[in-house]
Amino acid sequence: MWTEQVRSMIGTGILETLYMTVVSTVFGYLFGLPMGILLCITDKEGLKPNKVIYKILDVIANIVRSIPFLILLILLIPFTRLLLGKSYGSTATIVPLTAAAIPFIARMVESSLKEVDYGVIEAAKAMGASNSRIIFKVLLVEARTSLITGATIAIGTILGYSAMAGAVGGGGLGDIAVRYGYYRYQTDIMLVTVALLIVIVQVFQSVGMFVANRLDRRK
């Protein structure tokens, strides 16, 4: 059964999974990072409290996060088709993946930034730092380790979601696992894809933690 065909299929699966995960994470941060920063600074105790903005973002984050990913995937089919012209395949899966990742990442960023000691922010204020300087030179720098740890968790979660997208023809290792393992009872192929997913998550996790520790100056 380990024909050339199967091997190349699994190879493509790995690449597709990495493609979906990485691109979705990048897009997720593109929108999730600013959203997280806004959540942090518009909060009651934030740099620039703003009840309205906070509430709007808060509600959006909660709604999107409470929709199960599989449902979100289906709900977003019309939108994906509008955007890319088709709703299946790994590129199309990036759309719902990013949509799910944004609020998740925003919450991670928000909680990382809120961990920064208020005293340091106060010191920066006392030195005459503007809010944007405080955000970019204090908050994001001091929260660096926590942000990277958060990114590691986010990438693992997105990878998991991408495998789920296999159920509706999303491509990648998850797709292979569903098609061969579930529909064709080829348990061995399923096990191999699952093992590969585990390895990928493990690699991301180790690299993330290594970088986070490497950049932490507190120890």
Binding site: G119, V120, E122, A123, K125, A126, M127, A129, V141, E142
Partner: protein, 348 residues
């Protein structure tokens, strides 16, 4: 014209349990070149007051005028500019933990738009002043508390401020380190003529470096004046309390409490100034009045560089000579004050 004028400042905080008056109509003038102590127990409002001086806390009422500028009338941008003239250091140092010592000191210089080269050069000069030039590449987590505070001082001085605010700057430090930080602050005050405002709950800190002091309680200034004056004639209860808690050791921090063994009798606190230390006043008084005077506490304290003797005496209850003995001490040039029962009860 005072460099800092706090006029009728009040600050209210909204909390879950209702409104809290952190400051109630505080008026204070701090002259240029002063080392001005603001002392009080925790919750007295002193930290809020010091934050009003750079408008990190905006007063609910009243005005704060710093270097002839009414802070409430400044735009956001002007206020940030003004803050560059007001350095601040904190109890927990508040350094950027992910940045090196050098980068921490460079931070305010970058705010001022200095180039990397200029900032580095200046940062090295400042680290030299605080004696940490060789630790420039270290990270705050590798430094001791005293060293961290020195970095914070270097950072606060980076923008050439005319005012330095110290919020409990020595409260997290051990006695030796406290002394060295206080010496550094005194030196900075002398060398650069920077006005320093010191927030503390330790009388010893005030004694060691402040020339003037304000005593706060429940959001109000209950007493203010020169440190020597308040040490000699504390008028308010809080001032006496703080003086009594001051165990005379220099900035040791722990409130060593002497047991109050004898409950009755009249207690008086006397302060010896330099010239009254020659005559054996107490011995002579005992011989004159033939009364068994009890010495409850005696200490020498350093007040602004001058040695002051402080003693608490107890005259036995039933003595008819209390007034006469007090007069005897006053005649010999001692500062004297009678302590009521409630004031001594347990507190010292």
């Amino acid at each position: 014209m005072a460099i800092i004028q706090i006029q009728d400042v009040s600050k209210k905080f909204q909390t879950k349990d209702g409104e809290i008056d952190a400051l109630k109509h505080v008026t204070l003038d701090i002259e240029a070149g002063d080392i001005y102590g603001i002392i009080g127990m925790s919750g007295a409002g002193k930290s809020t007051l010091v934050r009003c001086i750079n408008h990190i806390e905006v007063p609910t009422e009243g005005t704060v005028i710093v270097q002839d500028k009414d802070l409430s009338k400044l735009s956001e941008k002007e206020l940030r500019k003004q803050r560059e003239h007001i350095g601040m250091i904190f109890q927990h140092f508040n350094l950027l933990m992910q940045k090196s010592v050098l980068e921490n000191v460079c931070f305010p210089l970058f705010i001022q738009g200095k180039s990397k080269v200029e900032a580095k050069k200046k940062a090295y000069e400042l680290l030299d002043i605080v004696g940490l030039k060789d630790r420039a590449k270290a990270y705050p987590s590798q430094l001791s508390g005293g060293q961290k505070q020195r970095v914070a001082i270097a950072r606060a001085l980076a923008s050439d401020p005319q005012i330095l605010l110290c919020d409990e700057a020595t409260s997290a430090l051990d006695p030796q380190t406290t002394s060295s930080i206080l010496a550094l602050l005194k030196d900075i005050n002398k060398r650069f003529g920077i006005t320093i405002v010191v927030i503390t709950h330790q009388m010893a800190v005030v004694r060691e470096i402040c020339n003037r002091v304000a005593i706060m309680k429940d959001g109000q200034v209950v007493e203010n004046g020169s440190t020597v004056e308040i040490f000699n004639h504390p008028k308010s209860e809080v001032a006496r309390d703080l003086l009594r808690k001051d165990d005379g050791g220099d900035t040791t921090g722990d409130d060593q409490q002497t047991a109050n063994q004898i409950q009755d009798g009249t207690k008086i606190r006397i302060v010896f100034t330099e010239n009254s230390a020659f005559e054996p006043v107490i011995a002579n008084m005992i011989l004159t009045f033939k009364e068994p005077i009890n010495i409850l506490k005696a200490a020498t304290k350093n007040v602004g560089g001058v040695a002051k003797g402080e003693m608490i005496l107890e005259i036995p209850s039933g003595s008819t000579n209390v007034k006469a003995m007090e007069q005897y001490l006053i005649d010999r040039g001692l500062e004297l004050e009678e302590l009521s029962e409630t004031k001594t009860g347990g507190a010292f």
